[in-house]
């Protein structure tokens, strides 16, 4: 074909003039890119340095760390969102997500509230070693456990278990401090009365604000305790709420709470779309998880070979992500609960256990990708990062 036959097309002259003009009028866009990067850095910084400016003891097993920005403004967030905290502990670089418990309109600091977990690498580090003045690495707030004005009811019913109170604390504080036209019924389960985090503040808020109701539920109360006891069951929910209409339910707590409360809500006729559930880390004891193959001991050792990389020892009961981090291999991770897919790796050979219902893309499953934060080796593996 002759080159440039379009020069013979009708209207070419006008187009050629327009092109010539646009060459002269063209504008360089590299500066815009910098602007965009700066702006996005305000919303979703890849790195966020925070300084511990206060440590507040909430209960014997719980502390709030007040974190102020070091060299930037804090990114905005929605009440209920979390930040990942990165730490290097005993030579192991890892991270954990922590819901922000302070309210979003207060922009000077983030509070995160940490409860001691038996053998909890990061929680114990934060509880025992971090002090005022220390620096912590974080990144922009994340997560989808927030009130959505597009379709959530103005009356939120919040079920919290233990340290699962933190996102609700942010929501409740925002509602009362900013005078939002919303209603909250908080049903907060704990094993013992002195485990209840934010107890005085919640009681005081509930007293002062008609739109906030606070029902602590104690699993193992003292004999003299007169409040609600046991688990958050259908009878209790029914008694507190009356009817289930025009309410959206938010659950945040350990897996055991979901396993118990979700069927109770279902028995009360609450539709699935009315229930929001925050993720809460990998299962505490994977061997108890439905579907775990019998006969595989959590201490059983396997080897994982990384494509073009080294071979590392792992054991069946430890999430693959954690085993990788122990060997100095740090895939990006954010939620560490199976949802965000950041720690996705491809299993080239071998089998892993990944709890049923882990939200993995269909085609990722088809091609062998797993979310390493909730994947447990059942054989020797070869993986691609």
């Amino acid at each position: 074909m002759r080159k440039g036959i379009w020069q013979e097309f009708d209207g070419y002259k006008e187009i050629a003039d327009e092109i010539e003009l646009s060459f002269e009028a063209g504008k360089e866009r590299s500066f815009d890119r910098q602007l965009a990067d700066q702006y996005l850095g305000r919303l979703h910084p890849k790195e966020l340095k925070l300084r511990v400016v206060d440590v507040i003891e909430e209960t014997p097993s719980t502390k709030t760390l007040r974190l102020a920005p070091v060299d930037a403004l804090l990114p905005p967030f929605l009440a209920g969102q979390y930040i990942p905290l990165f730490a290097e502990i005993d030579g192991i670089r890892t991270s954990r997500p922590y819901s922000i418990s302070s309210q979003p309109k207060q922009t000077g600091f983030y509070d995160i509230t940490v409860r001691r977990v038996p053998d909890g690498l990061v929680s114990n580090f934060l509880m025992d070693q971090v002090k005022v003045g220390d620096l912590l690495d974080s990144a922009g707030p994340q997560g989808n456990f927030n009130f959505n004005p597009l379709y959530h009811d103005r009356h939120m019913v919040c079920f919290a278990g233990g340290s699962g109170i933190t996102p609700f604390m942010s929501m409740i504080r925002e509602i009362v401090e900013c005078g939002l036209d919303r209603e909250v019924t908080l049903i907060y389960g704990n094993r013992h009365l002195d485990d209840v985090i934010f107890h005085p503040e919640l009681e005081s808020i509930a007293q002062r604000f008609d739109n906030i109701t606070f029902i602590p539920v104690i699993e193992k109360p003292a004999k003299t305790y007169s409040g609600a006891c046991g688990f958050i069951n259908a009878a209790l929910i029914q008694e507190v709420l009356g009817d289930m209409q025009d309410k959206t339910f938010f659950l945040c707590g350990p897996q055991g709470m979901y396993d118990f409360c979700l069927p109770e809500l279902e028995s009360l006729g609450v539709a699935k779309r009315k229930i929001r559930k925050e993720m809460y880390g990998p299962p505490v004891d994977i061997c108890d998880y439905p579907g775990w193959p019998s006969g595989i001991n959590p201490d059983k050792n396997f080897q994982v070979t990384i494509l073009d990389g080294k071979t590392i020892p792992v054991n069946a009961g430890t999430p693959l992500l954690v085993s990788l981090e122990k060997e100095g291999i740090v895939p990006p991770s954010i939620c560490r609960s199976g949802e965000c897919s950041m720690c996705r790796v491809k299993v080239l050979s071998g089998k892993v256990f990944q709890p049923a219902g882990t939200p993995v893309r269909k085609s990722d499953t088809r091609f062998g990708y797993v979310h390493s934060c909730v994947s447990y080796p059942l054989e020797d593996l070869e993986i691609m990062l």
Partner: protein, 498 residues
Amino acid sequence: MDYDVVVIGAGNGGLTASATLARKGQKVLLLERHNIPGGCATSFCRGRFEFEVALHQLSGLGTPEKPGPLRMTLGSLGVMENLEFVEIQDLYSVYMPDGFTTCLKPDKNQTIAELKEKFPHEKEAIDNFFDLVYTYANDMIGAFIFRDPEPSRDKYPNLYRYALRNAKEVLDDYFKDPLLKTVISVYWGYLGVSTDQLSFAYLAMLLFQYIEFKPFHVKGGSQALSNAILNVFLTAGGRARFNCGAKRILVEDNQVIGVETDQGDTIETRYVVANISPMETYTNLVGKDLIPNNTLQEMNSRILSNSAFTMFIGFDCEPDELNIRESTNFLMASTDISRSLHDRMGRVDIQDELMVMSCYDISDPTFSPPGTCQINLVTLKYGDPWLTIPPGQYHEAKFRCAESMLKRTEKIFPNIRKHIEEIDIGTPLTHMRYLGHPAGAVYGFESRTKDSFFFQPGNRSPVDGLTFAGGWVGDQGFEPTLRSGVSAAKSILRQMNS
């Protein structure tokens, strides 16, 4: 040499370039900043839904009996056996606020009949217009696809007459009814420029392609396509590094000699495929001082396309309970297809813009979990105004815009709000963040007539060894970008042999 070729970016073009080169025995490294392949061609999970990010209707695939160009491309890459395509039974529906609605089928005669029924006063014009679309498409195919060595005005009269005209002029020549013009031109939403600036050639080719080769979707969504192509690449021995972008393209005596990654290591190579914008490539990776002035001028002469505001909505019921009957629905606020419609894409708030609502479960009932369905509701918006929103007000702006879109959609599908189970929202800033495109442009440079097919710079660069793939250097959309990677790969193979 560490690698024969380094491909920067695992978008559609980067993926097909990588797979083509690896299958030709080249040692290829694919770098991708994100943790998944696909660029726009991805999905993400929320609750029990896996939301499709970008693909509405795949063009150019054709049926096994009458394969289109894309089926041949994917076939030659060896990915077809890992993919299940689903033919979409409708071309598109248009909904107007006054209750007018029409559903066109991907069949020329049915579409003409439906239009004539709705617009009896324009019967003749409808016949004439589709004659023009088809003769234009045939001229184009004869001259450019089959590469006629001696094209002429006698052989291809409509090509010569119409190739450089804009769509609105042609619509005005043929039709009087503004509603008909609106209905027939809604595909401008897939191209990003309103009809007064859109090349008629693009509108004609899009209509022709979708009718002749049928619109398709793919099981598992566009992520399945991306994963399948990546899989072919890996199987052929290719290496991919995710969470790792390129920081510099190293050039010596105008020849690519390597790539420095943003993890700090340097990879020796003599060939790079850039599946990223030329701005990023020339300005940040190569360095402007190494690029001739006319190349930079050409780049700057073009206008960044719009970005998009997208709502991903999962419902706890089947589409028919929502009254959603077709896969592809254009929701229009008025019959104004003039310049002002285009201008409105330049403000943050959403009122009367064109919106596309795709419901994938109509053609593929397995797309969402049983008893549920999802829609992708999108409108085009320029990205820059979003940079003027104070960051503290970003979430509010996002919800406000989403509320406007939802309200407009509810007027047509009144049941939707009470069935919502999940919503996620992508704003122009989301696109800036995940795609890294300046201004969050989803269509690369704008497809104005002056920037159409004939006037694009093509995949070559002034730097030896540097070749482009993707929507920034050619046409936009899945089919063109998937094919662009194959062209880039072939171009590199030719350079290697010469």
